[in-house]
Amino acid sequence: MKKSFWPRGLVYKEWHQQRWMIALFLITMSLLPVFGSIAQEIQVMTGRVQFLGPGVANGTVGWFSQTLLLNPSGYAIGQVPWGTAFLFGAALWSAERRGNNLETVLAGPVSKAAMVRVKWFLGMATIFVFNLPCALLLWLEARGGGLNGMAGNADVWLRLAARWYGSQVGMEWLIFSLAFVAAIGVGRYAISLMWAALALFAPLLLTSAVAFLVQESATPITHYMGKGMEGYVSKDPQTLSSVYATLQTWTMTLDPWSYYGTFNYFYMPQMLDFVLPVGGVLSILLFTASFSLFEHCEVERFRRVFCLRGLGVSSLIIVGVLPAWIFGILRMSSDVQAHIQAMFDHQPWHGPAPMLVFTFYFAGTAILEVLLWIGVRRFLRRRQARSAQVMAVA
């Protein structure tokens, strides 16, 4: 009897199902430095970039790689594979919703545990392996030239490339595992992505909401003084402003767009070293959660919601909260924040009014989405009934 940690049938099946996603991963990872360099060269050649930084030799091949390794937060392109990891984690389970895939597999000599294990390890290994050629390419490009003084110093660039690789892998593991556990809960691709996004952004949302409330209770003294909180003085400077400042820091840290900025190499190089172990440990915890979740969820015929039934409707509530996430992210920009505040300050109402406006906006959005969903469902049911009628006549 075949009993192995890696049931061959499962590995074969996963490879067949996920090979295009794995290929996408390879492309987004391996071509990152190539695309980055090409884009940079085009910018230099077209004169869009005049000043590349102190000591940087313009137009050199290694320029992009060097600046990326030195300052990972400087390039959003480095975060493209994060998105792929996110999609990959959910895709591994959403593929099972087609037909009776899950039942087909579990009707064989395959345990649920083996299924979770193979999928998770496949994703983790893909991330681990496919980031490697990317880091190697960045290292090879970086050592080729670019920054004066550091050019040709292979050891420095190797260390930086290794650090970049570790942080990328740690971050992608975490994002992948989040999407993975969310997808086990719901199965549907889009809904599982939304749940994972909620898990990823929930702390941001919460801190933003609390920060917003604290800010609302403060008295604005001017709108364009500077960035964010400097424009406000709390009614109780001893407590409220300090709370707000703390929350603002947390929010900034949790904001995915400024995430890398917080762990910037120049300011907090040691933080990058922690991303891999922390990401690894959190991923293992999420893997254990996936394991337990899938083990306790039943595979029922005709009831293909994985574990949490009726999540389709509750996810609409999350969709309703989406604008809140967007708002939470937008408020990171001090300009936008100042403009919004200025807009409200010119109105006769102050205080909690803006919060009410946003509450109504979110509630309205959620209601509209529910109505839209009911409409779409009715349309689909009618269409299904019509096609069943046609089939019956045929």
Binding site: M1, K2, K3, P7, R8, G9, L10, Y12, K13, H16, Q17, R98, G99, N100, N101, E103, T104, V105, L106, A107, G108, P109, V110, S111, K112, A113, E295, E298, V299, E300, R301
Partner: protein, 300 residues
Amino acid sequence: MVVTEGLGKQYGSLRAVQDVTLTVAQGSIFGIVGTNGAGKSTFLSMLLGLTRPSEGRARVLGSDVTERSGAYRERVGFVTDQDYFLRQFSVREMIAWGRKTWSRWDDIRCRQLLESFELPANRPVRSLSKGMRVQLAFVSALSLRPEVLILDEATSGLDAVVKRQILQLIVQEAASGVTVIMATHNLAELERIAERVAFFHEGRVVLQTSTEDAKREMRRIQVVFPGGLPEAVRMAPGVLRVEESGAVYNVIVETEADKVAELCRQHGPIYMEELEVDFEELFVHIMHKEGYAREEIVLA
């Protein structure tokens, strides 16, 4: 061998299966019949470990169905009319997947079956007709050399030629020691091949008997009397129903068939023959007894 003791499954307030206790002997063909929604598929799903029982226990080939590893399924073949396939796979890939999944996989047997069913190896499973998909499921289930074969409406959607081919295969498998559990709405085929049968209704087994005993329980007495059916016969104890077809009367007798036949003889019939009732008649009767009656539909 398959044994269940007080097996049940509850979905919220709905008791899909309740208190099912039965034993299926090795090498026998066991039929499961019942109305739609009677709990047949849920019962089979529990035997496969796909649905966790809410109560009772079930053992397949000596293993508890709730066993986490599912190792017993190494020796269990399963065919259903539902799409139990990896739809993105071609026939060849499905076979390759089966070979890698089941250690008992028999390539020679698989090739023989593929050739006899004339299944196109390179076609994607999703593009196969329903009948072809069922044939492919049979190829997979029989290639793993099962000791237990679970069939859930497996022959529905098949043409008569292929159906006969498959029924022959099932009988052959049983003869070689494979235990077959077969849920179907096709009572005629069950009557032909099953040795024992369980009638399901609202999740319960309302009758479990051998096919011979089941048929023996009811009798059809076909008679022609010169002056119509005597009232004494019509009202005799054990007479369930009388069907009239011209001068011919079909007296369906539930019990005491010998006494009713003797009564008929006493009234001097022109023609009289005692016949076995078919399974469908038996099934409808049992369902009527259980209160599952349906009005005749008359369309305007």
